[in-house]
């Protein structure tokens, strides 16, 4: 069954990355994706946003997806005039965590002992990415999202 098309605009540049399910391979891929985007003249802050989002998603798959070493994660990155669209396909356990709303609470700086040491990942993804959705698939996960291209004057922080 063809995937539902959600990207309104044809990408003018696209690349695919195959990632072994370990943290080191995720790191290497993030560096490669960032270099590829930079080659497409994407501004550094947008490359950073993509790296932050993909780091959380890919590491989450590595940590919780129960993938065999031979089961590579497939990442497709497409560049349009307004977004960097990402599709991530894996054969691991179904994970739908990104559809949950982050319950990260802004820290109370006065109580050091109660500062959170986790929960940042989902919050970062939902702060930066848009249109997060799981595409229908029989085995594993197929996630799509986009990272808006921002200009210096549109910084979200």
């Amino acid at each position: 069954m063809p995937l539902p098309a959600k990207i309104d605009e044809e990408p003018y540049s696209c690349d695919t990355f195959l990632i072994a399910p370990d943290f080191g391979s995720v790191r290497n891929t993030l560096v490669r994706v960032s270099a590829w985007l930079s080659d497409q003249n994407v501004q550094p802050e947008n490359c950073d946003n993509v790296q932050l989002v993909l780091a959380e998603i890919l590491n989450n798959i590595v940590e919780h997806g129960s993938l065999w070493a031979s089961q590579e994660i497939k990442l497709t990155v497409s560049l349009t005039s307004e977004n960097i669209d990402c599709r991530i396909r894996d054969l691991g356990r179904p994970i739908r965590v990104l559809l949950r709303k982050s319950n990260y609470g802004l820290p109370d700086e006065t109580v050091t002992s109660e500062l959170p040491e986790g929960g940042f990942g989902l919050f970062l993804v939902q702060s930066i990415a848009r249109d997060i959705r799981y595409l229908p698939i029989k085995t594993g996960n197929h996630l799509a999202l986009c990272v808006p291209l921002i200009t210096d004057s549109e910084q979200i922080y």
Binding site: Q51, T112, G118, F123
Partner: protein
């Protein structure tokens, strides 16, 4: 990724040698910091100059070592690039840590 500890003008400075603090090295980072963490100091500067990426695991590790040092020792940060700063700003952790542009600024800081 490695850490180097030194004392500059009486202030303990631990510098990160490596480009990233991420899921691939967050545990190693925390363990190494524990080995180097000085005792009986009011403050320790973690110098992030040269680090170009921190993900949520890295952020969690930095918060973890802050909690490890507290309440007797305060962890302060220096040398953050814009990418790393963004992670702290988005999560509002920039309000939790004292953040200095450079190690020399941190050492010169009067609040010590």
């Amino acid at each position: 990724m490695n850490l180097i500890s030194q004392e500059l003008d009486g202030v303990s400075v631990i510098s990160v040698v490596g480009l990233r603090i991420d899921a691939a090295c967050a545990i190693q980072f925390k363990d190494r910091f524990r080995e180097l963490a000085p005792e009986n100091k009011d403050r320790v500067i973690l110098d992030l100059d040269g680090v170009d990426f921190v993900d949520s695991s890295g952020l969690g590790a930095i918060v973890g070592i802050m909690k490890l040092l507290a309440p007797n020792t305060r962890l302060e940060l220096s040398g953050m690039c814009e990418t790393v700063k963004k992670v702290f700003t988005l999560t509002r952790m920039d309000r939790v840590f004292a953040i200095h542009n450079k190690v020399s600024d941190a050492i010169a800081c009067e609040d010590r």
